[in-house]
């Protein structure tokens, strides 16, 4: 709420100008009945035609003025509120982007999309139509009250007698419909998530021929959505007509009490007629209250949802006194690192010392904690105890952007944007595809090899998540994206798994040439880890074996077993044969 109010304050001038146009239009509006009354009285009834021309000109002027002012009012509100919403969406987006991985572990994309799109749309509706209507009706209400009180305060007071009752109904409506709108907002997020997952997993759905099941699943959510929306309609139906009724009762009050006063001689008939002419100006704002409450309640429900996200704080934050160095040399050290998620212990007492320019290979069975380990370097998560240091500085004491600029990761799940290959590789860097660094990265990652066969080269557009490319091609692009950054620490998280042997070999060779980079390589293939300075074999969150390829083979442990499994049948005769052939 505070965020929203702050943003509204920023655009207050827009509202002021639009409201000024509104007040001017209403003022002009006030002259209308007066002029028409005069025309009727003087021209039509008394036959004074000299008055007609002037009066009609005035009327024309008022019409044009009202049209222009009305336009300015509408456009002013549209413009101002749309600007506020841009700010709000931007703030929300930036805030979400800053949240740590653990937030995204828990929240689905569909839901976040719903917050940033649908909920802000609801707020926009209130900021534009809601506020405009509220102001307009309030002004009319005040003007009408002033006029009515001047005409006859007693009758005016009686006319307002239903107001507290209306307010009570509105209060009840607000309470009930507010929680319904929160449900609607949640259900919409569910609907969004269900559809989004179905679309993301469409290949799976089709592979299993589960279209019918998916349709049924969506139907249930869709029907739930229907039920909640009908609930909202019912709440409106239970309150809005009551408000309308109560506002119409005012008419009855006016003629019965007005009649009583006139008959009792307290009020002249002419005064009562005048009074009755203005009474509708009082009734309309009353009737609108139900509708307004509806819009505002919807807005408040959405504000609540958004506020919840705004109160989420990133678990990974910049230190208050960051250590200065902008350029790192790349000496990475794990000192007795423990890492827990909840109660589950993922890493136990891990120490690794990776000298500048060295290669550390990480192996281990599925779920042993390999990815968790390398996630600690770029601070995607924080370790529970112990410390991770680069150049002797704890990563928690570094500025996050400096740290991450110096650590380039190729993730296990390749993620590419629906954009050109060039944009995907640059990914935010300010360079061209002709820059030496770009060309070098593209060549080293063997991207150049297949891109140069494409008709549009680096301008080839790829689909979301790299649709249209093979798994290996996607991995190559994501490697290029990391290489182009010229970071001091390079992490390859099982990112050559879809590459054929030859491509993998060439990429490795190219990487080895970049001597000043410290490398962490997670892989399952012996060929990918063999040349590392140290191979660390993980089991159940701690290091089971460590050493060079030769040392580990000599050890005859888990690494040796893996080696045998991958190269069994590779008997000595064949070995010789192969060696000779080469």
């Amino acid at each position: 709420m505070n965020t929203l109010l702050k943003l509204m304050k920023k655009r207050a001038w827009g509202y002021v100008l639009a409201t000024a146009a509104m007040i001017a239009a209403i003022t002009l509006d006030m002259f209308n009945p007066y002029l028409v009354g005069n025309i009727v009285d003087k021209v039509i009834l008394d036959g004074d035609f000299s008055y007609l021309k002037g009066a009609l000109l005035c009327l024309g002027g008022i019409t044009i003025g009202r049209a222009i002012l009305g336009y300015l009012k509408e456009y002013g509100f549209d413009l101002t509120s749309s600007k506020i919403i841009v700010d709000l969406r931007k703030d929300l987006f930036d805030h979400i982007q800053k949240l740590s991985f653990s937030f995204f572990d828990k929240n689905n994309t569909g839901e976040l999309m719903s917050r940033i799109k649908d909920d802000t749309d609801n707020i926009m509706h209130a900021l534009c139509f809601g506020i405009m209507l509220l102001l307009e009706q309030s002004i009319y209400f005040i003007i009408a009250s002033v006029i009515l009180f001047t005409l006859n305060w007693k009758l005016a007071l009686i006319s307002l007698v239903t107001m507290p009752v209306i307010e009570f109904v509105v209060f009840r409506l607000e309470k009930k419909i507010g929680s319904t709108y929160e449900k609607i907002s949640d259900q919409r997020a569910v609907l969004n998530t269900t559809a989004q997952q179905n679309l993301t997993g469409v290949r799976l759905v089709k592979a299993f021929g589960r279209e019918k099941y998916e349709i049924q699943k969506f139907l249930e959510q869709n029907q739930e959505n229907y039920r909640i929306n009908v609930d909202q309609v019912k709440i409106m139906a239970n309150h809005n007509p009551v408000i309308e009724f109560l506002s119409n009762v005012v008419l009855v009050l006016v003629i019965s009490f007005g009649g009583y006063f006139v008959i009792g001689g307290e009020l002249s008939l002419g005064e009562l007629v005048a009074f009755s002419n203005y009474i509708f100006m009082l009734i309309w704002p009353m009737r609108m209250m139900g509708w307004l409450t509806n819009v505002l309640a919807q807005c408040l429900a959405s504000v609540k949802k958004i506020d919840k996200i705004f109160t989420e704080e990133s678990e990974i934050t910049n230190p208050s006194n960051p250590v200065k160095p902008e350029v790192l040399s790349g000496h990475v050290e794990f000192r007795n690192v423990d890492f827990k998620i909840g109660d589950a212990c993922i890493l136990k007492d891990v120490s690794i010392n990776a000298q500048k320019g060295s290669t550390i290979a990480v192996m281990g069975i599925t779920g042993a904690g390999k990815s968790s380990l390398i996630n600690l370097i770029g601070r995607y998560y924080d370790c529970t105890s112990g410390e991770v240091c680069i150049d002797g500085v704890n990563v928690k004491n570094m500025r996050l952007d400096v740290l991450r600029k110096n650590v380039a990761v190729v993730m296990q799940d390749v993620f590419l944007f629906s954009d050109t290959i060039e944009e995907n590789i640059k990914f935010g860097l300010d360079m061209k595809s002709t820059d030496p660094a770009f060309i070098c990265a593209a060549k080293d990652s063997m991207v150049d090899e297949f891109v140069c066969q494409m008709k549009d080269g680096y301008n080839t557009v790829i689909g979301e998540r790299g649709i249209g490319l093979s798994g290996g091609q996607k991995q190559r692009i994501s490697i290029a994206r990391a290489l182009v950054r010229d970071a001091k620490v390079l992490i390859l998280d099982d990112s050559t798994s879809a590459l054929d042997m030859e491509t993998e070999y060439h990429i490795q060779k190219a990487l080895n040439k970049r001597r000043d980079i410290t490398r962490f390589i997670i892989a399952h293939r012996i060929s990918a880890v063999k040349n590392a300075d140290e191979i660390v074999y993980f089991d159940n969150g701690s290091i089971a074996e460590r050493g060079t390829h030769e040392e580990l083979l000599a050890l005859g442990g888990k690494y040796y077993k893996t080696y045998c499994a991958q190269y069994s049948g590779y008997d000595h005769e064949f070995d010789k044969e192969v060696s000779n052939a080469c």
Binding site: V40, G60, T63, Y75, D78, L79, V86, F101, F104, D105, N108, T109, K117, Q196, N198, T200, G201, R203, L204, G209, N225, Y226, M236, P241, E244, F245, N248, L251, V252, I255, I263, S276, G364, T366, G367, A368, L400, D413, F415, F417, S418, G428, V461, E464, R465, G468, G471, R476, R481, L499, D500, M501, E504, K509, K558, K561, Y567, D575, S579, C582
Partner: protein, 599 residues
């Protein structure tokens, strides 16, 4: 169709409004009765609304002037009763119509969703998910007011207008013409402005869709964004898209907001003309002053409903593009569907043949060229070859995810085009490259392979692929919730769960597309043993790069440049000393790269 990115606007056919309106009206048909009831209830409320000022006037003019307090009280009583009746009518009208509208939205959304399920990969390949989502959720919601107001304002207001016009015509024909003279002008100006506005609202919807697509991609790939510290950059892109969307909104508003001024001007000018012409008629005594005064009040009664109808039209224009975008998808014919005479394929034995198959995604570049092979039941086939050679394409054709361009694919002698998709795909177990898990429990994810599987069956499948052990390590075991991004699960563990899912479906043909890439060698061995036990004698196709995975296959096919270069068993191919030999030996060559360097 070109690939659509988050930046590109979608193509939209310029279609006629009328046909879209007609299609929308069709949705009202099943609710004829409810619509009738709504109209009846609506007319009751309107009647009371019209009577209120009349009562007020009569009360003052007749009873109060005469000091008739008794009749005044009766009048007040009647008013209260009528308004109470109107309140009740209004309540049931809101509920009836609210139900109808929401039911229609439910129907349209479900229809759209069902239709999208039928579309082939080609459709999904070309559009970002965020854009499809925008249509299912946002565009459908935009129709809400359209239906409600179409019934509750359009029809009653039209009735009001006709009544007023008839009365005016009867009162004075010439004056009526003068009063209505601005109407055609208004309509002309209106259509001019609104057709411009319509195009702008279309742009707005497209921009909204782009924004949605980008948001979706950014949140899906947030790890990449954060790890590269690209937040500033994506934030800038977001702001650009956002600003683009806002500009399209305000540009549409600049047009759309003209709508009130146009109506007000026409109203104002119409009134002025009536006074002007009426006064001269009064001065020549052609009409009495009373007629003129009454006439002017009818003029405002005429414009009020026009205002409401125009308002509805404005809404129609604003939201029409939503309807267009929905119908555009509904009009896409699924390009892979059952033939009319398609029959379910009987239980598959597992003979797979490709007869001179040529395939192209875009009808320009052939991905597969005249590929032929025969695989006997129970064979394990390994596909090897460099990335992008066409391995995944071959297995995609076995499941008929794409239609072959030329040639035919046969299973047990049945041409795939002659059998129903459900019966075919239900018997093929495919493990795709990208592991996808739904955000639900591990148990439900595995059960997706066989919807009516018991917990015991789920466990057996998990055990077979060695997933049971790690699943039981979680506090909640099989009831552990998996989120979209697979919280707490490693990529390998996710692959194992997906494996269990495929096992559970008991496929007659198994296709593994780099399905073990993220699994360590030790676990992979266990998985393979599990598969061998469970799927004894079933045909399987395996795409892999780890030669230890490939070597045990009965037939190895080397795929290069869209064709099968060579095929045979490991021993045969090694003896042949062709491409496979090179591939295989390179593994060792790369292992000892000192030698390589020496060469």
């Amino acid at each position: 169709m070109p690939v659509n990115t988050f930046k590109d606007d979608e193509d939209l056919k310029e279609s006629l409004n009328i046909s879209i309106i007609k299609r929308l009206v069709v949705y009202l048909k099943p609710h004829k009765k409810a619509v009738g009831v709504t109209l009846f209830l609506m007319s009751c409320t309107i009647l009371v609304e019209l009577l209120n000022p009349y009562f007020l006037k009569t009360g003052i003019d007749k009873f109060i002037r005469a000091g008739d307090s008794k009749n005044l009280l009766i009048l007040g009583g009647v008013m209260i009763i009528l308004n109470a009746v109107s309140m009740v009518c209004s309540r049931s009208r809101i509920i009836t119509m609210g139900k109808v509208t929401n039911k229609i939205l439910l129907t349209i959304r479900q229809q759209l969703y069902t239709h999208i399920q039928k579309l082939s990969f080609a459709f999904f390949d070309n559009r970002p998910i965020g854009k499809i989502l925008a249509r299912i959720i946002g565009d459908v919601n935009s129709l809400n007011d359209l239906f409600t107001n179409g019934v509750t304002s359009l029809i009653p207001e039209l009735a009001k207008i006709s009544a007023v016009v008839v009365i005016m015509m009867l009162m004075n024909f010439r004056l009526a013409l003068v009063a209505l003279i601005t109407v055609p002008l208004m309509i002309a100006a209106f259509f001019l402005v609104m057709s411009a506005a319509r195009k702008r609202w279309q742009v707005f919807r497209k921009k909204t869709s782009n924004l949605n697509a980008f948001t979706h991609e950014d949140f899906s790939g947030i790890r990449v964004v954060q790890s590269f510290g690209a937040e500033c950059n994506t934030s800038k892109t977001f702001l650009d898209l956002l600003t683009g969307q806002r500009k399209s909104f305000t540009s549409a508003c600049r047009m759309g907001d003209m709508f009130w001024p146009i109506v007000e001007m026409s109203w104002g000018v119409g009134t002025i003309l009536v006074f002007w012409a009426g006064s001269s008629l009064v001065s020549t005594a052609a009409i009495t002053p009373g007629v003129l005064i009454a006439f002017t009040s009818y003029v405002s009664m005429f414009w009020q409903p026009i205002m409401n109808i125009s308002n509805f039209y404005n809404q129609l224009v604003t939201n029409m593009s939503g309807a267009e975008r929905i119908f555009e998808i509904l009009d896409i014919e699924p390009d892979i569907k059952n033939r009319i005479d398609a029959r379910p394929i009987p239980s598959i034995k597992g003979d797979v043949s490709f007869n001179a198959v040529t395939f192209s995604y875009d009808e320009k570049v052939n991905v597969l060229n005249n590929v032929s092979f025969d695989v006997k039941e129970g064979t394990t086939v390994a596909l090897v070859g460099s990335t992008g050679a066409g391995k995944t394409t071959i297995v995609n054709l076995i499941s008929r995810f794409y239609e072959v361009t030329k040639g035919e694919v046969l299973i047990d002698g049945y041409n795939l085009n002659d059998v129903t998709l459900e019966s075919l795909r239900g018997q093929i177990g495919l493990m795709p490259q990208d592991t996808f898990l739904f955000s639900t429990t591990i148990k439900e994810n595995i059960r997706y392979g066989k919807l009516d599987a018991t917990d015991e069956e789920v466990k057996i499948a998990a055990k077979a692929v060695s997933a049971h052990e790690f699943i039981m390590k979680f506090e909640k075991g099989y009831d552990t919730e998996v989120t979209e991004r697979g919280m707490r699960l490693s990529a390998g563990q996710r692959q194992l769960i997906a494996f269990a899912r495929t096992m559970l479906s008991d496929p007659r043909i198994l296709i593994l597309d780099e399905a073990t890439a993220s699994i360590d060698t030790h676990t992979e061995k266990l998985v393979q043993e599990g598969i061998a036990k469970l799927l004894k004698g079933r045909t399987s196709f395996v795409i892999a790069h780890r030669l230890s995975t490939i070597r045990n296959a009965d037939i190895i096919m080397v795929v290069e440049d869209g064709g099968i270069l060579e095929s045979g068993s490991h021993e045969e191919l090694i003896q042949k000393r062709g491409q496979y030999y090179n591939l295989y030996t390179s593994q060792f060559r790369f292992l000892n790269d000192e030698e390589e360097e020496a060469v």
